[in-house]
Amino acid sequence: MDQSKIRNFCIVAHIDHGKSTLADRMIEKTGVLTSREMQNQVLDNMDIERERGITIKSQAVRMIYKAKDGEEYTFNMIDTPGHVDFGYEVSRSLAACDGAILVVDATQGVEAQTLANVYMALDHDLDVFPVINKIDLPSAQPQEVKDEIEDVIGLEAQDAPLISAKNGIGIEDVLEAVVHKIPAPTGDSDKPLTALIFDSIYDSYRGVIVFVRVRDGVIKKNMKVKFMATGAEADVVEVGYFGPGRFIASDELSAGDVGYFTASIKNIQDTRVGDTVTDSARPCAEALPGYKKVMPMVYCGLYPADSAHYSDLRDALEKLQLNDASLFYEPETSQALGFGFRAGFLGLLHLEVIQERLEREYDLNLVTTAPGVVYKVHKTDGTVFDLTNPSNLPDPSEIEYMEEPVVNGEIMVTTDYVGAIMQLCQERRGKYISTDYIEQTRAILKYELPLNEIIYDFFDALKSRSRGYASFDYELKGYERSELVKLDILINREEVDALSFIVHKDGAYERGRKMCEKLKDEIPRHLFEIPIQAAVGGKIIARETVKAYRKDVLAKCYGGDISRKKKLLEKQKEGKKKMRQIGNVEVPQAAFLSVLKLDSAD
C-alpha cells in the first residue's frame, strides 16, 4: 500500500471531553459502516464478540476516507485510555502512531490530564493538532479555549476545527485535518521486518492475537517470525486489519500499516507488548525502543473467593497480562485468605479495572486486600528491600528506617476551590511547592504527595471538594524517608493479615479507628460477641464490638408451608458461603473492599 495515503493516529483528551464520541463519529463518517451498522456495532458489540467467540477490544480501527483532494486515505485510529493511571497504556498506543488529535472541551478548557497526555504525545515525536469539542453548548467559549491551548500548551490552535462530536458538527474538518496535519508513515517495505507489538489479546479459538504497527518490511502468512525480547519464534497463521468490531484478514501488512496477526504461539508469555517482531530468516539489526518500562505503583492481594478457583484465577491473570503488560503478579499465601496472588498495578483505577475484568470476563469471584504502595525497608544489617506486602514487614528491631514513594502532583482547579484543595493536600501530608495562575480563574497547584495518600480515594475527595472542577495528574518523584508503622487488624483477637497495611504513624490512630468502625458495619452479628481491634506494634489503638445477636427465629410457619422456611434457611446458608472464615468469624468479602474507601463513609 502507498504509505503516503496512510495516517496512523490516536485521540488524546481529558476524561469526558468527548474522545470516544468523536471516534464513533469519525468511523461513521468515513463510510466504512452505514449508520445502521454503526448502531449495531456500538450496541451489540458484546453479542458480536460472543457470536464469533472472539474478544475484540476496540483499541484500533481502520477507516477508509475519501478526502477533498479526491484521494482515498487509510486511517488507523488507535485508542488510548484517558485516565492518569494508564499513562503507560497511552504511551504504548502512542508508539504505534505518527500523530494525535487533541480534543479539548469548549466549556472546560485545558485540564491536568490534557497537559499530561499532550506532553506524552510530544515525547513520542507525534504531531498533535487540537480540536475544540462541544461548541454547541451554551457555555462554550471556543476562542478562550483556543487562546488557552496556545498559552498553556503552546500548540497552534487558531485554526482548530470547532466541532460537536455529539451532534456530528465539524467532523469533516477533523477528517481533513488528519490528512493534512498528521504525517504519513516513513517506513521501508524492502527492509527486514520490524514491527512493534502495541497490544495483544487472547482468544480461546485462535490463541494469541498480536496487534502490530509495521515500521519496516512486510509481514505475511506462513512466514516465520521472531519475538526479539523473548527470542521465541512462530509461524504466522493469519494477518489482517481491524475492521469495526471485527478482524478482516488480508494477504500482508507492510511498512506503515497497523493490523494484527495470529501465529503458532505456544506460550502466551512469549508475546510481550512493547516487543519487536522481526523476520526469523532476515532479522532486523535492533529492536524498536518499545515503551518506557513502567513499574507498578500499587500492590494488593487478589484471592479467589472460593479457594478451589485458584488455578482459574492464575489462568485469567496470565491472559490479562497479555494485553496489559503493566499488570504484575506473583503467588502469595495469606493465613486468612489462602492461596492467591500479590498483584501490582499502575494505580487504583487500574486495579479496579483488572478486578472487574477478572470478575466479568473470567467469571471469578474475588477478594481483594487493601492496596498499598512499594516501600523501601532499610534494615539494621545494611540491606534494603522492597516491601509490597505489609505482612512481610520485619520486626521493628530489625528496621533502621523506611522510605515511601512520593509523587509530584499537579492539580488544576478554579480559584474558588484553591483553599479547599490546599487543605485536602495538607491533610494528605502534601508538601506545598507552588501555585501558578494560568488565567484569572484557574490555577495549577503543585504539591509533593506521598503516593499512599493518593491511591485510595484522593480522586473522589478532590472531586467532591471542588464540585468536580479539579483535575489531577502526577508522576513519581522518588522515595523519601518517612515514619511508617504497620497497622494490624484483629478480628475476634485474631490478626487478619489480609487487612494489615502500612501507614504514617501520625495517621495510624485515625485510620485504625475508621477501619474498626467500617468493619463493625460490615461484619454481621454472630452468635457471640466479636471484638474488632486495630493495633500498632502489638498495642491496641482502637476497638469496636460487633454484638452477638440474640434472636434469629422464624415467625409462624403456617399451614405446613415448609418451602418458605427452607428458602429462608437456604438464603442464610448461601449468604454464609460468600463469607470468609476468619477463626470462627464469617467475614463478608465486601468487608475487605469497604475498608479501602474509608473517607467516603464520613
Binding site: V553, I562, Q572
Partner: protein, 392 residues
C-alpha cells in the same frame, strides 16, 4: 383399611374482612358469590382427594386462613361434613378452627361445636387496644373476652390463644399484661409469636417503633418463665400447652405433624401438602383454582411446585423441622429412616453447636432413644443452627 397410614388435613379459608398490616398469608376479602364458588370448589377437591387417600386415617383437621370464622358458618360446617363423608376419620381426631374475636359470635361457635370442631384457636394477638389498632386488627380486647366466654359456653374444652410480642409501640409491661390476662383465662394452649416484619406487607414500608432486640428477647424469656410458673410447658419454639413437660394432652397434634414430617394434605387455595416425601402446594390464584377444578381435564393444574424429596432433602427436613420441637429430633429414628447415623452426615454441625451450647444431646428415658434438641439459648437463634443442617 390400613391403620398404619395417618393423615392430617389442612383446609385453607383465604377470606378476611380486612387484611392486617403485618399479614403476608394468602388472604383477602371477597364477594359472597366468589366465596360461594370457592366453597363449592373446595368441597369438590375434598371429595376427589378422599378417593385418592382412602387408605389413610385422618388424625387431625385444621381450618386456617385467612379468617375461617369470617365466612358464613354454614359453609364451614358443610365443608367439615364433606370431609367426614369423604375421608376415614379417627375417633380421636383433633379438629381445629381459627377464629377472629370480631367475627366469632356465640351462634357461630355453637354451630362449629355441633358440627364436630373440638379445638378452637382464637387470634387475640394482644389485649391492649392501642396495640391492636396499630396492627390493623378489626377487634378489640372486649370482643376477645366475649368470644372466649362464648366459646366455653358453646362447649369448647380445648382452646388456643394466639399472642404476639415485639409489636410496634409494645413495652415489656404491656406485653406481660396481655400474657397475664390470657393465663387467667386458663386456655389449654397458648401460641406466643414475635412479630416478624415480612417484605410485601404494609408494615414493611412503614416507619415503626419496634421494641429492640433485647426487649424482644426479654419478652420471649419472660413468656416462657411466666407460663412455666403457671402450669404451661413449651413444646415447640412458639407453642405452649397446659400440663407438665411430659403431658402432651393439649399439645396441638396438627402442629406437631408438620415438624415430625407426618403426612399432611392441604386442601383449598395455596395450601401446602406433604405425602410420602412428596411436597407440593396448590396454586394461589382463586379464579384459576375454581376454573381448573371445574373441569375434569384440568384438576392436576391446581398443584404446583411438586417436589420429590431426595434423601438429602429428607434428612435436612428431618433435622430443621424436628428441631422446632423442644424435645428435638430422634437420632435413632434418623438412622432407621436413612440407614446412616446423624453423626455420619452432620458430625461437624452437631459437634460445633453442642460445643457452643446451642444444641444438646440426651437419652429419652421411655424409649431409650438418643435425641438432639436446641438448648434454651439455641431456641433463640434457631435459624442459624437449622441453616447449617442444609446439605450443600
Amino acid at each position: 383399611m390400613n391403620m398404619g397410614k395417618e393423615l392430617s388435613l389442612y383446609i385453607h379459608i383465604p377470606f378476611c374482612e380486612r387484611k392486617c398490616l403485618y399479614c403476608d398469608f394468602l388472604s383477602f376479602n371477597a364477594e359472597k358469590e366468589l366465596m360461594g364458588s370457592y366453597f363449592k370448589t373446595l368441597s369438590k377437591e375434598i371429595q376427589l382427594s378422599g378417593k385418592v387417600y382412602k387408605d389413610y386415617i385422618v388424625r387431625s383437621v385444621f381450618f386456617g386462613g385467612g379468617t375461617p370464622s369470617f365466612p358464613d358458618h354454614g359453609k364451614i360446617c358443610d365443608t367439615l361434613d364433606q370431609i367426614k363423608e369423604s375421608f376415614t376419620m379417627d375417633d380421636d381426631c383433633e379438629i381445629s378452627i381459627e377464629a377472629n374475636p370480631a367475627s366469632a359470635i356465640y351462634d357461630k361457635l355453637q354451630a362449629y361445636r355441633n358440627a364436630g370442631f373440638n379445638r378452637l384457636s382464637i387470634g387475640a394477638q394482644s389485649l391492649n387496644d392501642e396495640e391492636l389498632k396499630r396492627l390493623g386488627r378489626i377487634h378489640d380486647s372486649r370482643q376477645f373476652f366475649e368470644t372466649y366466654e362464648n366459646a366455653r359456653k358453646a362447649g369448647f374444652d380445648n382452646i388456643n390463644i394466639d399472642v404476639m410480642s415485639a409489636l410496634p409501640g409494645q413495652s415489656l409491661e404491656s406485653y406481660m399484661d396481655t400474657v397475664r390476662k390470657v393465663i387467667e383465662l386458663r386456655p389449654e394452649h397458648i401460641s406466643a409469636y414475635s412479630l416478624i416484619i415480612e417484605e410485601g406487607t404494609p408494615f414493611y414500608d412503614m416507619d415503626l417503633e419496634l421494641p429492640d432486640e433485647e426487649e424482644d428477647r426479654l419478652m420471649y424469656h419472660e413468656t416462657k418463665k411466666y407460663l412455666a410458673q403457671n402450669g404451661y410447658h413449651r413444646y415447640e419454639i412458639s407453642n405452649y400447652a397446659l400440663g407438665g413437660q411430659s403431658d402432651d394432652t393439649y399439645e396441638c397434634f396438627h402442629n406437631k405433624a408438620y415438624w415430625i414430617r407426618s403426612n399432611y394434605l392441604g386442601l383449598g387455595l395455596g395450601a401446602a401438602s406433604m405425602i410420602e416425601d412428596v411436597r407440593w402446594s396448590n396454586i394461589k390464584d382463586i379464579k384459576d383454582y375454581i376454573a381448573f377444578m371445574a373441569d375434569d381435564s384440568s384438576f392436576d393444574k391446581i398443584r404446583e411446585n411438586v417436589e420429590n424429596l431426595s434423601i438429602e432433602g429428607r434428612m435436612e427436613e428431618f433435622m430443621f423441622l424436628g428441631l422446632r420441637l423442644v424435645r428435638g429430633v430422634d437420632l435413632n429414628e434418623f438412622e432407621t429412616l436413612f440407614k446412616r447415623t446423624a453423626e455420619e452426615v452432620y458430625a461437624e454441625v452437631i459437634y460445633k453447636y453442642v460445643e457452643m451450647g446451642l444444641l444438646h444431646r440426651y437419652v429419652e428415658k421411655k424409649s431409650g432413644h438418643e435425641y438432639l434438641c436446641l438448648t434454651e439459648k439455641g431456641l433463640d437463634v434457631s435459624n442459624t443452627v437449622m441453616a447449617d443442617f442444609l446439605i450443600e
